[in-house]
Amino acid sequence: MSALACDGLTVGYGDGAPVIDGLHLDLAEGAVTALLGANGAGKTTLLRALTGLVPLRAGRILLGGTDLTGMSTEDRMRAGLGLVPEGRSTVVELTVDENLRLGGLWRHKAKARKAAVEEMYGLFPALDRRRRTPGHTLSGGERQMLALARALLARPRVLLLDEPSLGLAPKATAQLLGVLRETAARTGLTVLLAEQNAASALSVAERGVVLSLGAVAADRPAAELAADPALRHAYLGF
């Protein structure tokens, strides 16, 4: 049973040529899938279309049994989709604690909200030490951590991540992906991880999907993708 399925997705900007063109993609329940592709291949566009931030020209998106296609971004999030967007999505006017709590606000029970926040502080001790710190003083790595923590806090069924390693030192990247992998294994979270850094993405993923010319050019087990010299040369740059 796939956690997220899209069928015939076509996405473009204005009246330009489609960036994503009739794309099919199935994400297996509980798996980490790496989404790879050159700059401008359409990774960000695909993730934003899945969350409803960019409108679809055609196609359908199913989350488990729920049809997300006509839903607002807010409702997709409430239905169990999550996105850690490209770049630093920390709200700089809010404190670390407020940024984090934002992720669970739509849950109704105050007690459950509080428990979820404390759980995230347990996972990210660096944030725990800086609860009252204003967002604008955080480093890039801390902001990326905060964005991931906020997304996990909502307990999504499917989490989309757009280049979480951008601007991070290798050690920080490894730590972030480690938390992600561990959480996925523990909770059965399904992850789609878009990355420029193909080697590190494939190292935590079970599967790799290569995006090229608006469609899926390869969809294989991660180890196999990483080991295929032709693919590595053509799409992955390592």
């Binding site: 807010e74 630093r88 999505s89 700089v92 709590r101 606000l105 909502a154």
Partner: protein, 292 residues
């Protein structure tokens, strides 16, 4: 000395109303990045609702509640009906529509209710308490101060201490991030307008009984001063609105008392110019501009 005390006390009450109206401009600015030039006309409409509710029932308090509700509804309606339909990311359409709305509302009020001043009666005496031979605040001044302070405190608590307030702030600062956290941003923007318009209505409701009376332009001067106050405080800053509101209220009172009432607008303008020269973003402007 007696005169100074009297003027300071009067300035405090005036400043509280100014601060409240300025806060209403700050709230809508934060929610929608619009300087709502229609705030005075919308507040005047709300005061007309209060006037008629009081006339019909004989109760000041029913009038007050009606005015606040009318203000909130009008705020939400303006957002849903007009502002939401404008292109985002451009300030000019919002300003033009707001100015158009001023004309429509003020003409509509004049057609419906006539241009004359209708006296409104305060619920408490306006005769000042005399303490040690010095006339100070009147009971109505105290009511004004108390009501404005209570509402500003309640708004501060709402925005800073409640989950709803966090949603309102996130929707205002970073709409996309808020949506990705499941916040229904359009609803928050409409709520911001409603809160803002209700606060402005309250400020107008407190002010009008101390002046000539209600007419479609009764809130215009309050708006002009409160706009200056909001700019002085830093358009983004509720605390700035409070500080600048009290300061400006005192200044206006002193200039009116020692020089003349006609010099007061000039003094406000001079204060605004001075503050902007020293701190272009206003007194309490955010230290770091948004980057995303």
């Amino acid at each position: 000395m007696d005169r100074l005390l009297f003027l300071l006390a009067a300035g405090l009450a005036r400043g509280a109303v100014l601060a409240l109206f300025a806060l209403s401009l700050v709230i809508v600015w934060r929610a929608a990045r619009v300087v709502n030039f229609a705030q005075a006309a919308m507040a005047a409409a709300a005061v007309y609702a209060a006037f008629h509710a009081t006339a019909a029932t004989g109760s000041y308090w029913i009038g007050l509640a009606t005015g606040l509700a009318a203000g909130a509804l009008l705020g939400a309606a303006v957002e849903r009906g007009l502002m939401r339909r404008l292109p985002a990311h451009a300030p000019l359409p919002g300003i033009i529509v707001a100015i158009g709305l001023v004309m429509v509302l003020q003409a509509g009020l004049a057609i419906a209710f006539g241009p004359e001043h209708r006296p409104m009666h305060p619920p408490f005496s306006q005769r000042p308490f005399v303490i040690g031979g010095v006339p100070l605040l009147s009971p109505y001044d105290l009511f004004t101060l108390g009501a404005a302070a209570a509402v500003m405190a309640a708004l501060a608590l709402l925005f800073n201490r409640t989950p709803l307030g966090l949603r309102l702030r996130a929707a205002a600062f970073a709409p996309e991030t808020a949506r990705l956290a499941g916040v229904r941003v359009p609803r928050m923007v409409a709520l911001g307008w409603a809160l803002s318009a209700a606060a402005a209505a309250l400020a107008a409701l407190l002010l009008v009984p101390t002046e000539l009376g209600l007419n479609p332009h009764a809130v215009d001067l309050l708006f002009v001063n409160a706009f200056a106050v909001a700019v002085i405080g830093g358009l983004d800053s509720p605390a700035g609105a409070l500080l600048a509101g009290i300061g400006t209220g005192l200044l206006v009172s002193l200039v009116t008392g020692y020089a003349s009432a006609s010099a007061a607008p000039l003094a406000v303008l001079a204060l605004m110019t001075l503050v902007l020269l020293v701190r272009p973003g206003g007194l309490l402007a955010a230290k770091e501009a948004r980057t995303a």
